[in-house]
Symmetry: C2
């Protein structure tokens, strides 16, 4: 399927939703892809089933703090350079590229790479949302090594990382990205088509577009966009959603530390929602508590949305006084296995609360 | 020429002298090479003139703070892994390895690599002393790019750095080395035999051995070792030496910052040397002042030696109360050109005193 301008608008909204607060400003990513379309380039998605089992797929992405990205816009050539360098290291050309995460800008970087190189983009990803670290991918959970990995910046500097495991890959490449100015562009988790089918979360790009379209059409028809979205989710792998809070942002704390955006949001309840919600953030929303009681927890999605427009709000755009509605969403079962929770469950973020699926969480 | 145990002892002493305070503990390096000899391996030096013009030479070294190295001893396989990785990236086998600097442990790392791989070691280096940063090499001054460069640690992690210039190479690889635990093992500045002859400082390994032997034999014959050394130097490219101070260490300040050992030594004069000498340190001794008047300045050598035994003392071994004699030595002219001073002259260390050759410095 070939994407057009409306698809990109829907994708940006849906990717901001699935990004669960992180992944960078989706607006920036959309503009980068739009520019490709304006130049006459094509953005072609393919289903994972269309990738031959032996074909080489090289995922591409941005890494770094989203707050830095906004001040240091990419040209798109940086991620292309990473993919080309990895091809040359592997001695093999890529059949396609693919997102490593579906949040914010990282749902669009591979679209730019695919458009510029004439490669299709596989409609799937390795996080099913956004996560702050590169070992937090279903690719790695189910045995695909992240290395060899390439990190590139806009000045023409590159590093090829060959790490003994995916955690060391994250640690070393993060050091490089910090020294490249806080964000950089990567190619990693190169894999076969068979690995894509086995380890990726399928159809998340088209899901993001469906989410964006659902919100847009509901508003156009003066329907409640939250209700429309809650009706869509059960038809997808993200099979359960619910509104867990609604209120006004009373306090935002935020700092960039070790290359991450760390923070905490406090929301005073309004209407039927009494009490105070606190959301802890490491690039993404990790855990939401109301008066100290956990209401949703990573890897399930915690999405903060504008109460009027239902626009998803990324963590760097949260502001004092905003009226917001918080929705929690179940992630696909491939992301909730013991192996998956060992890599990106609550304990991986220093949270000492066990993972509890949103659909079984007490209301 | 094949090295034996006595050669190694002399080399360690001479390399500590030429290291001008830095380059790591020469004792550690000597033990690593001794172990190779004990295993029956051979350490063979060749003169730069013996390297065919088209042959590939891959220098090897340690990078990081010498103070960290002492607590985290290398096996020797780390630098071998870097050389092998660079060979595989270049698609060509190395004819020989070579030191990048002649100070302390970095005069011996290539001997371990050569012994383990059965490669000769070129009797030359790229600093003619020790320097704290990787762009500070005559190789780079005269046009050899430092990249592609490989950084390896003892856990099997590697990074291949492809930087647009040697300063970016230093910056990025330093970030990697810090994340590898403070020191790591590298292969860089791969070059042809013709480049070796054009850009390297020749015969510094054999010079280090001559310095060590001169000191050892003078002491054996109850001659003044300082005088013996001052008689040797005019027969070498390091054509002028003089004693600039003698006294007792009154204060040492030292800290590890950004991966470097930074410090300052204060020496109270004794005997004919009145006043107070201050030496500024960034891994190596950079500038020596007596009562505020500059007596020697980088890139000329500033060597702090035990006043009794004439043992060179590395900066991490300087202690309150030691009686020391400070010798300054001219470096070869290839290290004093305007191009060279632009890369490792005083201004490169934030010193605002012009380079003044020790032989023209007022006494």
């Amino acid at each position: 399927m070939k994407l057009d301008t409306n698809d990109l608008k829907d994708l940006a909204v849906g990717a901001a939703f699935l990004g669960t607060g992180g992944g960078g400003d989706p607006y920036v990513g959309r503009l980068m892809v739009q520019q490709c379309l304006d130049e006459g380039l094509e953005v072609e998605l393919i289903d994972p089933s269309e990738v031959p089992d032996e074909a080489l797929v090289i995922p591409t992405a941005m890494m770094g703090a989203p707050t830095v990205l906004v001040e240091k816009l990419p040209s798109g050539d940086e991620a292309v350079a990473s993919l080309k360098r990895l091809e040359s290291h592997l001695g093999q050309r890529a059949f396609a590229t693919m997102p490593i995460e579906i949040g914010g800008i990282n749902s669009t970087i591979p679209l730019v790479v695919g458009a510029r190189l004439g490669l299709p983009i596989v409609d799937a990803d390795g996080m099913g949302r956004a996560f702050p670290e590169l070992q937090m991918e279903t690719f790695g959970v189910y045995g695909v090594p992240g290395s060899p990995m390439v990190v590139s910046d806009e000045d023409g500097d590159q590093a090829l990382i060959l790490a003994k495991d995916n955690k060391d890959m994250e640690w070393l490449s993060r050091g490089v990205a910090i020294r490249m100015g806080g964000c950089a562009y990567i190619a990693e988790y190169s894999m076969t088509g068979a690995d894509v089918k086995r380890t990726a979360i399928p159809n998340t790009l088209t899901l993001a577009m469906r989410i964006g379209r659902t919100l847009r059409e509901a508003k156009k028809r003066h329907l409640n966009p939250f209700e429309a979205l809650l009706e869509l989710l059960p038809q997808t792998l993200y099979h359960h959603g619910r509104i867990i809070f609604s209120g006004k942002i009373a306090d935002m704390q935020r700092e960039t530390r070790n290359g991450f955006s760390m923070g905490r949001a406090r929301i005073d309840g309004l209407g039927e929602h009494a009490g105070v919600m606190e959301i802890e953030i490491q690039n993404e929303n990790l855990i939401a508590r109301v008066d100290g009681v956990v209401k949703a927890i990573v890897p399930d999605l915690i999405c903060v949305m504008d109460s009027e427009t239902a626009e998803p709000i990324t963590t760097e755009n949260l502001r004092y006084g905003q009226r917001v509605t918080v929705m929690a969403v179940a992630v696909p079962e491939i992301m909730r296995t013991p192996e998956a929770l060992a890599i990106f469950g609550p304990s991986c973020f220093g949270l000492d609360h066990p993972f509890t699926p949103i659909e079984t969480m007490p209301r």
